[in-house]
């Protein structure tokens, strides 16, 4: 390990719906259990030593989570290309499990899995969380990163409709409207732009756990989400105080202002009393990252990431939303939704405070399109557009997805965990895994994975093992 190495990863909560052949409503909790059982049949795995769910050959974890959502935690990755690669691998694994679930139960007509993060009917939201290793001061980090978390939605927003608008109002980020605080320790209510949950999963590093983001389909959006945020964390850790100068007077209000504006031109008030557009805030962070890209506290991929970052900001500045219409999730949805309205004979500029009679018929269609956009199982809109060659979102270097389904990242404890799964999956309950270790119940020994950068399999004897 060098000082510039960093861990980044994602947790994706998924929306799963099974449709019964006879039209009866199915039990979602039971369906999530059936999905987990099907996943266990399609993937060699180890069970959890403490936790529920299964650990897979690529070092990831799949488990049932709160609110009857299946959740996929990616393995610990050491660069943003790997994060996107393992997200795509996770989606293939999920799709395969859904197909198996359907094939196992003749009463099921279809199993659909979506990676959107809101339900417009119930007002519910669920997460797409990010994790970044760091050694910053816990007290100092929020001020340094919050302006970035607010401004980055111009490229990380999933797009959709404002879940709380009585009308039909486009937003760059539906999740933004579910955030009620700037800083908050909780994840299931009163969510914050910055989450202070302390679950480090190692004794050697702190883990920044962000819950303000959304699951994305565009590779470049998913890449920039992780790359830019990891660089801001690195700069904060390096003592550059990257948030100084762009501190926002009202971060939550700023987030919502940016979320409302597909032109990315709206300005918000800084603490200094200046007016700042999201692009200006992002350019402030980028400039600093470019100046320090080769400094010892920056990751080895910083310069390559800055090039993508700059190119995206230039593109947005050239004329958002049209300049990113085939590239970013929110901008693709913006084009799709306006087109749908146009075909229904409705002129819609994305802002409709009241749900007038002309808009009502198309409202349900757009809400369905919002779920279908990122459908992981067959029928997804984004996947169809991609197959048709209508999108330009791929990131060079995000490839070899099929290998990532079966193999862990090349380095770190995820590699050791994945190798254990491959080696011991056929041994039944003898072995079990967690983020910080693998246990051998028969020989009463443990593979210590406390260090996320561990490279050598070191087993040690333990006095007791859990049954």
């Amino acid at each position: 390990m060098t000082v510039t190495d960093r861990i980044a990863s994602l947790e994706m909560e998924l929306a799963l719906t099974a449709i019964a052949r006879d039209g009866r409503q199915r039990n979602r909790a039971q369906d999530v259990c059936a999905f987990m059982a099907a996943a266990a049949q399609t993937q060699p795995h180890l069970g959890g030593y403490y936790s529920s769910g299964i650990w897979l050959r690529n070092g990831s974890r799949l488990y049932p989570d709160v609110g009857d959502h299946a959740e996929f935690s990616l393995p610990e990755c050491q660069n943003p290309w790997d994060v996107v690669r393992y997200q795509l691998a996770a989606e293939r694994i999920v799709s395969g499990a859904a197909q198996r679930m359907k094939s196992l139960d003749g009463s099921i007509a279809d199993v659909m899995v979506f990676k959107n993060n809101v339900d417009y009917q119930t007002g519910a939201t669920w997460g797409s969380h990010e994790a970044y290793s760091h050694r910053c001061s816990t007290e100092a980090l929020p001020a340094q990163i919050i302006p970035h978390l607010v401004a980055r939605i111009i490229f990380t927003g999933a797009g959709g409709l404002n879940p709380f608008s009585p009308g039909l109002e486009f937003t760059l980020s539906p999740r933004a409207w579910h955030l009620a605080h700037v800083v908050s320790p909780v994840t299931t209510a009163y969510r914050g732009i910055y989450n202070t949950k302390e679950e480090n999963l190692t004794t050697k590093w702190k883990r920044l756990h962000l819950i303000c983001g959304e699951s994305l389909s565009s590779e470049i959006a998913a890449y920039l989400r992780v790359a830019t945020t990891a660089l801001v964390v690195a700069m904060a850790e390096g003592g550059l105080a990257p948030g100084d100068g762009v501190a926002l007077a009202h971060p939550l209000a700023a987030l919502r202002s940016f979320a409302r504006d597909p032109t990315c031109k709206v300005q918000v008030l800084s603490k200094r009393g200046e007016s700042l557009a999201a692009l200006q805030i992002e350019r402030h962070y980028l400039r600093l990252a470019e100046e320090h890209a080769r400094d010892p506290f920056m990751p080895p991929w910083a310069e390559a990431a800055c090039l993508h970052w700059r190119t995206m900001l230039d593109r947005l500045e050239r004329g958002a939303p049209d300049s990113v219409a085939g590239t970013l999730d929110w901008a693709i949805k913006w084009s799709l939704y306006r087109r749908r309205c146009e075909r229904r004979g409705i002129r819609w500029n994305g802002v409709a405070a009241e749900q007038g009679p002309a808009l009502r018929p198309v409202r349900a269609e757009l809400q369905e399109a919002d779920a279908r956009f990122g459908q992981i199982t067959a029928g997804g809109i984004f996947a169809a557009l991609d197959r048709a060659g209508a999108l330009a979102h791929h990131v060079p270097g995000v490839d070899d997805i099929e290998r990532a389904v079966e193999h862990p990242p090349a380095a770190g404890r995820a590699r050791l965990r994945g190798e254990c799964v491959r080696q011991f999956a056929a041994c039944g309950q003898r072995y079990a895994a967690e983020w910080q270790g693998v246990w051998d119940r028969k020989e009463r020994r443990m593979l210590d994975l406390d260090d996320p950068f561990e490279s050598v399999a070191r087993w040690r004897q333990v006095e007791e093992v859990r049954a």
């Binding site: 609110g67 959502h69 339900d119 119930t122 669920w126 299931t188 090039l307 209508a390």
Partner: protein
Amino acid sequence: MRMWDPRFDEARAGGGPRPGGPAGGSLADLRRSGEAFLRAADDALDRALSADSTQFLEANRQTGGQ
């Protein structure tokens, strides 16, 4: 497979990206790609949306997670 920016296609081909340069494509190219996008959008939506979106939304009701 289309890269998100033409410059990165050039980089893959060995030419190296041109930082700060234009993103390539004439006005006619952009218009053609816009029209192709709208055709693909119509097709994708027509295929993806169910016959009854209200019924779909009812069947797909979710509860809150994290």
